[in-house]
């Protein structure tokens, strides 16, 4: 079995929990349905967002330069990182210059992608994730299982137990309000003593050189306002041309992500406060390469709303950790093969190609079509298991010829009819694991059409 299939098997072993996971995420999907239904021109809004992003990707070089020029003019220091290692070194350098030992961080999947926390910890710099979900998994030393709700796989009892151990809350407490309050107190102290603040970026506006961070907890603001140095890390695909385009995306983002009309905070950062520093790190890390792949280019339109995860029937029943990637779910399965085809070659197959992800995506990424295309690419690069490759070759040979098709069809039906049950249902018959095989009829449609039908008329 593939890695994903093996992990899914383990996830499903606890069916009650799997049902709970499925239902929690389905509820978020339903909220999104209600929220998107309140906008009469939802589909036009998606078209518009998709069009803006396509335009940006086609002119990314120009927009990046425009963005940099305006940011510099605002007094921001701009850095370029080719890959994760460069990104981490740049951030470390800024922190060292300021002798920063305690850093607070908010809303950044990019730093997760670059494994910044691990890097800084090795250098003796403490990083605290300040958003509740992120803080929970940081305390647990687990990777996120979702890009918007990183601790969605955990039950409140488990969080209560964790907080009891790490933050000293009452044993057995599960009231979300109480636990959230406890986390808030714990984090407040970290904010006060922080030497620097790092945030992610949702949108970077070329026209103004400013960046926008969308959050529900306001920790990006809190961090930036209290710390003497602010660092914003972003993938190069986060650019939008003009401030007037922002509204298109903020209307889509909150509704698609959690069914909120808009995130609670939409924070705009343009320039450092007097006497302080503001840095922006622009990271490539494989994005230019993806941009060069025509069939997969538009995966870079993603605004990381997580809707494709919430809707995915496989994700809901296997959990984010089953993907073994920073970005799990449908979008992760089309991004990761571009980063490491060998390592992630099973992910494009972790799908039924049902297409729900593409229709839910606010920027209209044709996710399921790209999953199909990655499968072709994986076969071309010889990363399919040999047994599968061979069986498909044989199937192709049989199905190209009416005579071979007829012969093998009849033979297979006979076998199913005559073989004893134990020879049909065994370990190697994956179909038979939870299902009966179809009952083979005496004759195929073709045989009936040839033999019986003429007698009728």
């Amino acid at each position: 079995m593939s890695q994903h299939a093996t992990k899914a098997h383990a996830f499903l072993a606890n069916e009650e929990r799997a049902n709970w996971h499925d239902q929690s995420l389905w509820m978020v999907r339903e909220k999104r349905d209600r929220a998107s239904g309140q906008i009469p021109d939802w589909e036009q809004l998606r078209d518009c967002a998709s069009g803006i992003k396509d335009h940006v990707l086609a002119n990314l070089d120009n927009y990046l330069e425009e963005f940099e020029a305006h940011a510099l003019a605002n007094g921001v220091q701009v850095h370029w990182a080719r890959n994760a290692a460069e990104h981490n070194t740049i951030v470390e350098g800024i922190l060292r210059k300021h002798n920063a030992r305690r850093v607070v961080k908010s809303k950044s999947m990019l730093t997760e992608e670059c494994q910044l926390n691990e890097h800084l910890h090795r250098q003796g710099i403490e990083v605290i994730d300040t958003d509740l979900g992120e803080r929970i998994i940081q305390l647990l030393e687990e990777p996120p299982s979702h890009i918007v709700m990183p601790a969605i796989h955990l039950k409140k009892e488990e969080i209560g137990e964790l907080f009891h151990q790490k933050l000293g809350t009452q044993a057995g407490a599960t009231d979300p309000k109480y636990l959230t309050e406890a986390a808030r107190h714990h984090l407040r102290a970290r904010f006060m003593e922080s030497d620097a603040a790092i945030t992610g970026v949702n949108f970077a506006i070329a026209e103004t050189g400013g960046i926008v961070v969308c959050t529900n907890e306001g920790n990006a603001d809190m961090g930036v306002h209290l710390a003497p140095v602010q660092i914003h890390c972003m993938g190069i695909e986060k650019i939008i041309p003009k401030a007037e385009h922002l509204g298109v995306f903020t209307r889509l983002l909150g509704r698609s992500a959690t069914g909120q009309p808009i995130t609670v905070f939409t924070s705009h950062f343009h320039q450092p406060e007097p006497g302080r520093e503001m840095h922006i790190v622009l990271v490539d890390n494989g994005r230019t390469e993806q941009l060069g792949r025509e069939k997969f280019r538009n995966s870079l339109k993603c605004i990381r709303c997580g809707a494709c995860m919430n809707t995915c029937p496989i994700y809901r029943r296997s959990g984010g950790h089953s993907y073994g990637a920073t970005v799990p779910g449908p979008i992760g399965s089309i991004l990761t093969p571009g980063q490491d085809l060998k390592r992630y070659s099973d992910l494009p197959f972790a799908s039924t190609l049902c297409g729900s992800c593409s229709d839910v995506c606010p920027v209209k990424i044709n996710i399921h079509e790209q999953l199909y295309e990655w499968r072709q690419e994986i076969a071309r690069q010889h990363e399919l298991p040999a047994s599968k490759r061979l069986s498909m070759r044989i199937a192709g040979w049989v199905l190209a010829s009416p005579a071979r098709y007829r012969f093998f069809g009849k033979w297979a039906r006979r076998a199913l009819q005559w073989l004893p049950r134990w020879m049909v249902y065994h370990r190697l018959n994956a179909w038979g694991k939870g299902r009966e095989m179809p009952e083979p009829p005496r004759q195929s449609f073709k045989e009936w059409y040839q033999n019986e039908k003429p007698k009728q008329s």
């Binding site: 499903l12 049902c354 729900s356 399919l384 199937a395 040979w397 199905l399 179909w431 073709k446």
Partner: protein, 246 residues
Amino acid sequence: MTIGLFIPCYIDQFYPQVGRATLELLQKAGCRVEYPLAQTCCGQPMANSGCETDARAAYAHFVDTFAPYDYIVAPSGSCTYHVRKHFDILEQTDTVHQVRQRTLDLCEFLHDVLQIEQLDSHFPHRVALHQSCHGLRGLRLGPDSERREQRPNKPTALLRMVKGLELVELQRADECCGFGGTFAVAQPDISVKMGRDRIADHEAAGAEVVTAGDMSCLMHLEGIVRRQQRPLRVLHIAEILNGARL
């Protein structure tokens, strides 16, 4: 107008009654139907596994077999979608182009081309429609729950013409059943779990029969129903429209 009847390989082998229902239904509607004996398969099993190149010969054979017909009609949204969408790797000659354009799913053909308004069938049962993904989101046979748009639901419109039939409402109107071709055997745990969840939804809605435009989804669901010895029955939509009895 002559129709080339395309009966997908697994229907041919395992569900001949679905082929017969399709044929009879089209004939009753006044169509001239031929079933070209040389046909095999649309090539989807190989292509969805990443082996499009192994499917090429089957694609070419399909085009040769069906080129002479005015329409090619199949009781399968999924195979129809595959022909229309993925035969793009063949050189796009006029013939290839025409075959792709003229290949229609049965419901599409009845609804859009023949525009039938009544059916002479009676099925006094509570029926749930499983909306197979490729028909729904690929061919847009109806509006899906993700997009905010108005469009007719073709299979539903046809089922409403059947006397006595009561369509039940599902909690999740169009969630995938988990079949997914080779997915069903590559990821048996999730596949079966998805199927079991769909069945639970259908049962909770009080359905006696689950129907769909794709027998592949039903083969998967039926396999689970039979393993668990549940009373739920499955019938292809062609069988119900053609006047099947339980």
